[in-house]
Amino acid sequence: MKRRSFPGGTHPPQHKSATADTPSEICPLPPELVIPLAQHVGAPAVACVNAGQRVGRGQVVGKPNGFVSVPVHASTSGLVVAVEPRPHPCGAELPAVVLQPDGDDVWAEEYLTQSFHVLTTETMLERIREAGVVGMGGAAFPTHVKLDPPHGKTIDTAIVNAVECEPWLTADRRVLLEQRDKVLTGLEVLQKISGARQMWIGLEDNQTDVAALLAPHCKQRGVGIAVMPAKYPQGAERQLIYAITGRRVPTRGLPMDVGVLVQNIGTVAALTDAVTRARPLIERMVTISGPNVVRPRNLRVRIGTPIAHLLKHCGLREEAAKVLLGGPMMGTAQHTLAVPVLRGTSGVLAFRRQDITAPAGGSCLRCGRCVAACPMHLLPTFIADYARRDALDLAERFAARNCIECGSCSFVCPAGIPLVQSIRYAKGAILARRRST
């Protein structure tokens, strides 16, 4: 076991005990599923069903549109009520297939069980794509693209990201504990496809019990377990790669440039279903937690379940003042509970009015805490200041585009300056300016 980390970062209160040791439950089917066609990075899928059509569980309802795109499937059997714009976690209304479950939950077709050993890499990649597997840590990047690096790039190290550095979230932990066999098969699939000689599972030191449980199985398969100090953002790709391998991903590069592939633990489990059983990704582990939730726990949720249904199932103490999709550091606040769980949704957190502290909104004290916390070695306060003054050239010279938007700077700022928001604005403006010239 190794104990390494990365420079910078911060220590937000973890709040993991609320759900860490509660076994997950199957979330009952909601009266209506909203399955957005844009659930992944890349081109949105194109709907291939019409209102009034009956679909089976796992049936394709949206076809991929291009290489960096994946199909979208019906999460249960039922009736397609509409294909229309519906609230999407991004804040807009985007096209979605609205499905009324019939309660039978029958698969559209019989699925096979097959050992992956007999399959070629191409077949496996094809199955992964058809199953709609995307990065389940939050970014939702199509996995088949990540597993198929362009010519000239070789992967020698594969890292499975089970760090889960966001406070409150325990979905990855529950996946490791409850779906261990799937994860272990997924590791072998990952190794076979990527050809990596070294495999690592990355964990934080608040998960030593999981590490101990996994150790014998991993040793047998030659997979290393890296236990790192609990620090945010340990689960960020670049920080994780640095902590485990000591390699630095170039600023405009990708992990494959240093021969590394990082996959979220949930994705690895989904690989098993996709490859050995050709079953699509229609369900995922979601942490329902937060001070406003009566029975916080992890739920196995069908993709497309509105978050109102999840919160009703777990109970709210009072009307939620703020609901986040994802963790409190990088998650997005939602303005309506009609938004559905997507393939990349790791948690739903509900807060009460008293849990929300308004930012102080003061001026910079020049204390430098943001500089110390920034895991990318940036000067957040400078970039934010340039962003406010529209000095985009200066912001660019101070490497605003390297920001990974982890939110550490905003979290530690004693003056409550919306640093990461300002930097994000600068990034967008710099890119927009580039496109226009």
């Binding site: 997005t332 308004a358 930012p359 928001q421 300002s422 994000r424 604005y425």
Partner: protein
């Protein structure tokens, strides 16, 4: 003493001659018209012409690479003067003014969420497409105010941008800054405008705003040719205005989106009070 005066004096004379010669020899020839142009330009360095400042624009004018009608704040007078200096004939452009195309203040228009963060509309627009349910409504965080070089904009107490018609020069900077295109340029002599920017259909607009254009086309029927429809949004057909017919349309607009901005504003909310309803 004498020696010192003579030696320093002659040194001074020598240096003076040298400087005079250098000034002749290395003089940079500046077109006198450039200085004259710089005098007539507005001098705000607003950049609305597309050049980094007034002097850069003057240089471009002399070089003949720029159009003479780009100085927005200077308006037609400046254009006329530029034309005399450059000895060219130009048609005088119509002076323009910025118009805020939104009346949906905090009470009239529904908020999508409580916004806490950077006081900048463009940054707020990036969070779930802005804190207002209406996709075209004024966010009122004042990006336009910050960028107006003439102090012609302010955010009123209702949270909406307001244009000071006397100060606005029609430079159009606010139009390019506003992330939702709430601000638009219109001929300065027109004072009746459609103050709405929502692209949505009437049924949707009614859900989130009491003063949004619902696309009922009543204004078009009342004053044909004065208004045009762009999707579900009515717009004034500038240049084809008929004051009496438009005043009529203004009266009949069910959501009071058509406003005469030269008149003192009626208070934005018009909900009948209890007495009015009972009587």
């Amino acid at each position: 003493m004498l020696a010192a005066v003579i030696s320093l004096g002659s040194l001074g004379c020598f240096a003076a001659i040298l400087l005079a010669m250098a000034a002749r020899r290395f003089a940079v020839k500046v077109d006198p018209r450039q200085a004259a142009l710089l005098d007539v330009l507005a001098g705000a360095n607003c950049g609305a012409c597309g050049y980094p400042g007034c002097s850069a624009y003057a240089r471009a004018l002399v070089a003949g690479t720029a159009r003479p009608d780009l100085c927005r704040p200077g308006g037609p007078e400046t254009l006329a003067r530029i034309a005399t200096i450059l000895d060219m004939e130009v048609a005088t452009g119509e002076p323009q003014i910025a118009v805020v195309r939104c009346r949906g203040n905090r009470r009239q228009s529904r908020a999508k969420y409580d916004y806490q963060g950077l006081e900048d509309c463009r940054a707020a627009q990036k969070l779930a497409f802005g804190p207002k349910t209406c996709p075209g409504g004024c966010l009122g965080l004042g990006s336009c105010v910050q960028h107006c070089p003439f102090g012609a904009l302010n955010i009123n107490e209702q949270g909406l941008a307001e244009v000071d018609r006397d100060r606005c020069t029609g430079c159009g900077l606010c139009v390019s800054v506003c992330p939702r295109q709430v601000l638009a340029l219109a001929p300065a002599r027109s004072h009746i405008h459609v103050q709405c920017n929502s692209p949505d259909a009437g049924r949707k607009v009614k859900n989130y705003c009491h003063v949004g254009c619902i696309g009922c086309r009543l204004c078009m029927k009342t004053a044909p040719e004065c208004f045009v429809m762009e999707g579900f949004l009515a717009k004034v057909n500038y240049g084809h205005e008929k004051p009496t017919a438009m005043a009529d349309a203004m009266e009949r607009c069910p959501h009071h989106c058509i406003q005469d901005l030269a008149e003192p504003r009626e208070t934005a909310t018009h909900s009948p009070s209890a007495e009015e309803r009972t009587s």
